[in-house]
Point group: C2
């Protein structure tokens, strides 16, 4: 298997580098004070931390290009960061690396309603895109839970998903073209203003590449027409199996809901304890939230069909809401589920795996078995329609040695996902956190093929080193991400 060499920590003289950064961005565009830099020591994966020696705040494509060229000149790695909400440590700084923060690149550059697209800078917040076009009856479909804070650039890096990606696809399905700064500093345009441009689909390979192939500085997004009608159904079940079977049956009936989410008993009670929706029955083994959108006639017909499928599978109650307020109320608990887990347990560890939908009952049983075996409660709250699991392992990190055991349990769950034909990541990316599981999913030749692509875009390995690809280290050591050089690939 291809591995990355263990780095030797170098002593870098930052003075001339920072002087050049200041010449491009001014004093205010270069963050050097330790207390300010601490903001950037981790992303949403807070268990891994590394304070960067310097962070820069460019405003334009040209400035990003200049910064990257300076990094090349001095052979220092650079890591792009949006809002820092990622959950796999994709924006985790490396030792002796420059953090390129896009939070001043927040302009919506163009909105073209007729052709249903918007051009934005990478620091634009996900929900701003919808806000900018909703008045005219449009929206941007990918909606990660963090959408009121996460950036479009970060969404591109991690190929983010969300509740509505079941019907409308994840981020990559909503990106038409990109202006990118390559790891060399060159500026290129990939994709275009229309879907399916000729030549290689570099937009496809760039989206989800977690900053290892360059930095997107202008992003052309698809925007969609808002549905005429939306309805949310809440169905409660006395068994997890029945809820899982319902998910399969709904899709098998040819209905693709806008979203279809499942919460188990632990999640339901956590949510009711913390945000008191008073909608979710505390004694249910599982609930399903099914959102249906489309024409009014279509929603009304599908609502009836979904209701019947739920009842056929033994749902105790099926309620529905079409008015925005009640819909919001039904969703409120789901949206607060992660936060609620943080209230009922000192710590939680969220996993992100995908399985074929038909394996839901088996995999949920196996997770319960693992939960008992390891002795940690696991709350399940997830995108059931996509088979995208989010088990939350509840534990107390202040007890020495617990984190390691929990990470081991998390690893078991991921391997279970792979075993049934699924994947080690649904929407959170691989980042620093999961690279050690890549060999569970991909063969040496598969990983080597990906490494070629990385190598060709990023020959010096300066763009986001130590992410995605496994190193010889064991899992849990990812916090020690550092400057890594590419190995000499056999074919080069």
């Amino acid at each position: 298997m291809l591995t990355q060499e263990s780095p030797k920590t170098q002593t870098i003289n930052w003075k001339p580098i920072i002087k050049k950064f200041v010449a491009v961005l001014g004093e205010k565009g270069v963050v050097q004070r330790k207390e300010e830099l601490l903001t950037y020591e981790c992303d949403g994966l807070t268990s891994y931390k590394q304070c960067p020696p310097v962070a820069v705040l460019p405003r334009t494509t040209e400035q990003v290009s200049e910064i990257v060229k300076i990094c090349n000149q001095f052979s220092v790695p650079f890591i792009a960061r949006g809002s820092g909400t990622g959950l796999s440590g994709g924006a985790l700084p490396a030792e002796n690396s420059v953090l390129i923060v896009t939070s001043l690149m927040r302009q919506i550059l163009k909105i073209d309603l007729e052709n249903q697209r918007a051009v934005v800078q990478p620091g634009v917040i996900n929900s701003w895109v919808t806000q900018a076009v909703s008045g005219a009856g449009f929206y941007f479909a990918p909606d990660p839970s963090s959408q009121i804070i996460c950036s479009i650039g970060g969404n591109i890096a991690e190929n983010s998903g969300g509740v509505h990606c079941l019907k409308y696809g994840v981020t990559t399905n909503h990106v038409l073209g990109l202006k990118i700064v390559l790891p060399s500093g060159a500026i290129v345009d990939i994709g275009g203003q229309i879907p399916e441009t000729p030549g290689y689909d570099l937009t496809g390979v760039f989206v989800g590449s977690e900053g290892t192939l360059g930095i997107a500085t202008e992003i052309t997004l698809k925007i969609l027409k808002t549905a005429e009608s939306i309805c949310v159904l809440l169905a409660d079940f006395t068994s997890v199996d029945a809820a899982a079977a319902t998910v399969s049956d709904i899709i098998s009936a040819g209905i693709i809901p806008g979203g279809m989410e499942m919460m188990d008993n632990i999640s339901i009670n956590a949510v009711e304890d913390v945000v008191a929706t008073n909608c979710y029955p505390r004694d249910a083994a599982a609930i399903l939230l099914v959102e249906i959108d489309g024409l009014e006639v279509e929603v009304s017909a599908n609502k009836q069909r979904v209701k019947e499928i739920c009842q056929k599978n033994g749902a105790r109650n099926v309620t529905s809401a079409s008015d925005p307020e009640t819909r919001l109320k039904l969703w409120k608990g789901r949206k607060a589920a992660f936060a609620a887990a943080g209230h009922i347990s000192p710590d939680y560890y969220v996993q992100d795996g995908v399985i074929p939908r038909t394996q839901l009952p088996y995999v949920l049983q196996e997770i319960e078995r693992l939960s008992n075996q390891y002795g940690y409660p696991i709350a399940n709250v997830f995108h059931a329609g996509d088979g995208n699991l989010h088990p939350l392992i509840l534990f107390d990190n202040s007890i020495h040695g617990e984190l390691e055991k929990v990470e081991e349990l998390g690893g078991e769950i991921l391997r279970l996902c792979v075993r049934v034909g699924g994947s080690i990541s649904g929407e959170h990316g691989i980042g620093a956190d999961k690279k050690c599981y890549m060999p569970d999913m991909f063969s040496e030749a598969d990983l080597e093929t990906m490494q070629w692509v990385r190598k060709v875009f990023n020959p010096q390995g300066l763009a986001n080193p130590g992410k995605i690809f496994p190193t010889p280290r064991t899992c849990g050591e990812a916090a020690k991400v550092s400057i890594q050089k590419f190995p000499d690939l056999e074919r080069f």
Copy 2:
């Protein structure tokens, strides 16, 4: 700009190479007789011809891998070919190259209805996939006009489209994973059995790479549930502008038809002359065919809305059909349009460009102006909903010098598409035919970035040389495709 060096034709001693091919495939798997090889001298782009010195017919992934390894050993290029229906010369042999024909790789390996996927070999015919699953109420969405003869492998190579790609997306949206033989002969798996696997999206970059990155030997396809109800509307207009405006208005209303096709007066009359549908009014300036699918209630509501939009834009008549027979009759003329053009003119040259939908009226006017300027009638029959034009330039190839003028006219149309923010290819690929237009659409840096990817997968340049990327030659000389070595890219 990056260019490929002019090749020097080498004299290759085929005897030891063929001996090795026979050892892998047996005598019957290796085609050497000139009269049999003539079958393979061109694909659907019949103006370019080159007879290959040898063709091989593998049956398994391992055999493809062995053949490719032998090609590497002797440094001879190889070109994969499915059914040979491609329209851009993607499967055009190069001088001294081996043609790897997939027509014995025709097994449907697995059908998994529950998870809505099928695994097929590359030689499987497009329509066979739907045939294999239609009894259970499923279908494979991408439907090129050639679907009863074109192969899935060819669809992958060219990222083929079709009438139903407006709503459901082109081939790349329906491929989950691939087993591929790399240009080195190594076998790797990319993508997977579920959408959105982690790591780089190599499936995305492979689909549409026209055989330059390797050969797909096992393809995991998504299959979709057949809609409950389907309805086709035929609307006729006294002006092309009104028909074009209707297309925009339908999409703006948030309706995504299954397909939306336009035919102009020349096409209508050609079709009625040849296949006599007796459905298309000969005096119409343009007709629209709009297919709506979904739940019965949804189809019924959308049918009404589409009808109203057509009438608002001055449609003279709007008829509709829901029963399979009449629907087929309405589609019959559209499907026969290319063939009909071949009946009313000694020759035709089909172009394939894409424009933003809102530019339809302007671009169609410009095409008419160019038609008058050059003095060739142009029939327009195309995927209007996608803005994917197919102007058919009618001419007589037996008149010396006509082809060159027609190609010049075709080039003008493509440049027009690029000028309004569109693309030089919608669904036919670049192949040998259009590589000279790539610089009209992409900058040097953009093309260089694509070349890197090619280089990294295909370092010796043996996989389908002379395709996609521009050479220093002028357009129209593509027939002289030959062995080409990669230039030394600056960064290597």
